[in-house]
């Protein structure tokens, strides 16, 4: 039990955060000391506790980073247990793989991995409450039914609320979840309804909820300076100058181990306020050891990529048919080179973490998407046993994939142990921008061939991507051999070259897809125009009459679902039926990722000076038969689209002398409200299991934007971010 850890939620929530540690009973800490045993809360399973007053507590296992799972996952449980949503309290689980299995926010996987399981969790709780009621009434359970929060026996007119049944239900043996009948969707009362996030009241009143808001008794504040050149060691630092500053308690070197994803070398300053720690950091005058990485520059990367594009590829990843022969026989061939830059996650809450090392135990409060690997990393780096480390999962001010890495967790743990006091480590915005795991830059050199009927008969993509010296693409820098339009064109070749570039990379919302779709859907658009075809019709023809291609859950691609969303978006956007003004145009794109099928139409108007106004976006998406929470679902789609546009219009991380140039939001531009178009969202329901929405709506946005710019101006954008100077008249 943490003495007084506050994340600001109620103290009870805090107790709850802490209680799950060694697999003990969730809900245990809620029993007031004066409560008699028969009125104690009853834990019906790992996730559900029913209190005597009728409140139902539902544990949310995965990290909440703004994707809404702390609301949507408990909604699924509450639906099947037929709880009254107004009397459901959601509690964030701690990291506990024994109780919860894998707990992470990534891959848009929370819903697809848990839809069935959480429904059965809820159904189990409901069955126990019914059994308790039936037993007390001496009737058959099958004669009972439920209304929200109550068990009903219609024949006798009896009913009992869940709270009064809790203790008895808690003493019964749970039925086999597989034997339970689940609700028909037509009977849903919670799932499918617009449901505000459970933390909304706390958010709008400024309650401390986030990692950066964690406060512990006796806590100190830390800043950690790392080399501008990734991973460079410390040559020297004026620690005494820092120590002489007001409020400073410790200043020390960290040698580091385990690389950038664990503990990088640097200098830590610990003070009684974060501002004082920062001021002291300015006195360090740190000198860094020479590093080979200082040779890196974005200009050099471009030269390397251009060299690769002119040369033979390192290897052929896939070759179907005979691309060379098809290109020779084609009625028309075109070639184009596409490029996109490194970009940063730029979570609005800078990386931070709070840690306390006491009596050999490490306790960590982390806004992380991936707590268990963080716990293991801390154990390994600090030489602790994993069971001596507790990780509290704290709401994060944005994830976007950045918080799948846990190096800030290791840093906080290390610094707290060295400091001998609880420590909250906060990165500056510049630390965050310059020490990321960036969306990798990439280059595509395309060749395409059309036959006399304007069909694609040849497609070649020479994909050039950063990676290791031995030819392995970097983290999140690979492209699958089945990437569209593989399998949809008879003659298809995917060539790969890997540039030896050691900029740290990692997953950023719809990794791979968020960039590859820009290139692929851009080049498809070029082929459509070369064929003199309508870009929607051309795409429908490319999808052909294929059904499911490949294996579901692995490389499966359901062309029928994609045709469905493409037709839908053409319909709702007025595609081909809306008269455009001069320099106004619509562009279309589609992409499949994270089990979601998405098509978008973007409408732009481009001013004479090249400034782009995105006027509207229409989206059609197919994520299966059920939208769990329409509020969160629309939010995720709109946010993903605007995120994609924001990146395409303004974002670029560049390197000079091995260091990231951009440091803050003055040099790294995020979309602001005056640039945000309306985004009209349509879900196409299909008879498939529900899948996630954190990512798949993003990838079509950048290419639909650039295809719209082409429609408006006749100028093809082949490099991101979009340079408005290229679009000026004259």
């Amino acid at each position: 039990m943490a003495d007084g850890a506050q994340t600001g939620a109620s103290r009870r929530d805090v107790i709850q955060l802490v209680a799950g540690g060694g697999g003990l009973v969730l809900g245990f800490a809620l029993a007031g000391k004066g409560e008699a045993a028969q009125s104690a809360p009853a834990k019906l399973n790992t996730y559900v506790t029913v209190r005597p007053d009728g409140w139902v507590e539902v544990v949310s296992k995965n990290p909440e980073v703004g994707q809404g799972v702390k609301t949507s996952m408990p909604m699924i449980i509450a639906e099947e247990m037929d709880a009254d949503w107004n009397k459901v309290r959601t509690l964030q689980a701690v990291s506990d793989p024994v109780l919860f299995g894998r707990q992470f926010a990534g891959g848009s996987l929370s819903i697809p991995l848990h839809w069935d399981e959480l429904r059965r969790v809820g159904a189990t709780a409901r069955a126990l409450l019914i059994a308790a009621a039936a037993k007390s009434w001496g009737v058959e359970p099958s004669a009972c039914t439920t209304e929200p929060g109550r068990v009903i026996h219609k024949a006798s007119g009896r009913s009992a609320d869940y709270g009064s049944l809790a203790a008895a239900a808690g003493g019964l043996t749970a039925p086999d979840p597989q034997t339970l009948k689940l609700k028909e969707p037509a009977d849903y009362r919670i799932v499918g309804r617009f449901t505000p996030q459970v933390d909304t009241p706390a958010i709008v009143s400024g309650k401390p909820l986030f990692g950066i808001d964690v406060v512990l008794p006796g806590m100190l504040f830390a800043t950690f300076e790392k080399a501008p050149v990734f991973g460079a060691g410390v040559e020297s630092a004026d620690l005494d100058a820092a120590r002489a500053m007001k409020g400073v308690r410790k200043a020390f070197l960290v040698e580091g181990s385990g690389g950038l994803e664990a503990l990088a070398p640097g200098v830590a300053v610990v003070a009684d306020s974060w501002w004082r720690a920062l001021k002291a950091r300015e006195k360090l005058n740190t000198r860094w050891k020479a590093s080979e990485a200082s040779q890196m520059s974005s200009r050099r990367f471009e030269e390397m990529a251009a060299g690769s594009a002119r040369s033979a590829a390192d290897k052929v990843v896939r070759h179907d048919g005979d691309v060379d022969a098809a290109l020779k026989s084609a009625s028309k061939t075109i070639e184009a080179e596409y490029a996109y830059p490194y970009i940063s996650h730029a979570n609005l809450e800078p990386q931070n973490c709070t840690a306390r090392f006491q009596n050999g135990k490490m306790e960590i409060w982390a806004p992380t998407q991936n707590p268990e690997p963080g716990r293991q990393l801390v154990a390994k780096t600090l030489g602790l046993k994993p069971e001596d480390i507790t990780v509290h999962i704290i709401r994060a001010g944005g994830g976007f994939g950045r918080r799948l890495s846990n190096e800030y967790m290791v840093e906080a743990a290390w610094i707290a142990r060295e400091a001998g006091a609880p420590v909250k480590l906060i990165w500056t915005r510049e630390d965050d921008m310059r020490h990321g795991f960036y969306r990798p830059a990439g280059w595509h050199r395309f060749k395409g061939g059309l036959d006399a009927q304007g069909r694609i008969i040849a497609w070649e993509d020479h994909f050039i991507t950063p990676g290791s010296r031995d030819g392995q693409p970097g983290r999140s820098a690979a492209m699958a051999a089945t990437e569209f339009p593989a399998r949809f064109t008879p003659n298809f070749r995917y060539n790969l070259s890997v540039l030896p570039i050691s900029v740290p990379t990692g997953p950023l919302r719809a990794p791979g897809s968020n960039a590859i779709s820009f290139a692929v859907q851009g080049f498809i658009d070029e082929l459509a125009h070369a064929a003199g075809a309508d870009p929607v019709d051309f795409r429908l023809k490319l999808l052909g009459d294929f059904g499911l291609v490949g294996t579901p859950g692995r490389d499966g691609y359901d062309a029928a679902r994609m045709r469905g969303v493409l037709k839908k978006v053409a319909e709702v956007s007025g595609w081909g039926r809306t008269k455009m003004a001069p320099r106004q145009g619509q562009g279309v794109a589609f992409h499949f990722s994270h089990m979601g099928y998405f098509a978008q139409v973007v409408q732009v108007r481009v001013a004479e000076d090249g400034q782009i106004k995105v006027e509207k976006v229409w989206v059609a998406g197919d994520v299966g038969r059920q939208i769990v929470n329409p509020s969160g679902a629309i939010q995720q789609v709109q946010g993903s689209v605007l995120d994609g546009l924001s990146g395409a219009l303004g974002q670029e991380i560049t390197l000079e002398n091995g260091a990231v140039v951009q440091g803050n939001f003055d040099s790294y531009r995020l979309m602001r409200i005056n640039e945000a178009p309306p985004v009209d969202v349509h879900f196409v329901l299909s008879d498939n299991p529900p899948t996630g929405l954190g990512e798949p709506a993003l990838p079509p946005a950048p290419p639909a934007l650039c295809n719209a710019i082409f429609a408006a101006t006749g100028k093809r954008i082949r490099r991101l971010p979009v340079d408005p100077a290229l679009l000026a008249v004259g």
Binding site: S205, G639, R672
Partner: protein
């Protein structure tokens, strides 16, 4: 150096260096954690508070410059009739995704509506453009400002 501040209607005394930004006095010295740190250079607006009712980026305002100004943070904005309306609209429309920027958004929106009770679309965008939402909840922010000002949500 010792300073006397008016924060959320209370007089608070703090002893900090003159260049300490108001944000860090609020957060680390006074434990008022609603205003958030996002950039440190008045670019993102997550730290927005009111001084005498006007929105201010507290991350870039040294404590020495606050003077006798009455500081209001998200924690007390609900005591203000306009602020309460804004919070209500934010809740009803479920504006937040991660929620980190929203205290700052609500402070900017409240200042806007206090000065201009029925802003048009351009005025809303202009007043809110200093607040970045990385999750890009801008569509609902616009709708919530309109709802809080008694206007139809669709412009």
């Amino acid at each position: 150096m010792a300073y006397t501040l008016s924060v959320n209607g209370r007089t608070r005394r703090v002893d900090v260096e003159p260049d300490t930004p108001l944000l860090w006095v609020l957060r680390d010295t006074l434990g008022i954690l609603g205003p958030k740190f996002g950039c440190g250079i008045a670019q993102c607006g997550a730290c927005t508070v009111h001084i005498d009712g006007a929105p201010v980026r507290s991350c870039a305002l040294p404590i020495d410059a606050v003077g006798k100004g009455r500081v209001t943070t998200i924690e007390a904005i609900g005591d203000n009739e306009v602020g309460a309306r804004v919070q209500k609209a934010w809740s009803e429309l479920d504006v937040a995704q991660c929620g980190y920027c929203q205290p700052g958004q609500i402070m900017s929106a409240t200042a806007l509506l206090a000065a201009n009770p029925r802003p048009n679309a351009e005025e809303i965008d202009a007043a809110m453009a200093g607040n970045i939402c990385r999750c890009a909840t801008y569509i609902r922010i616009r709708a919530a400002v309109r709802r809080a000002s008694g206007q139809p949500e669709e412009a």
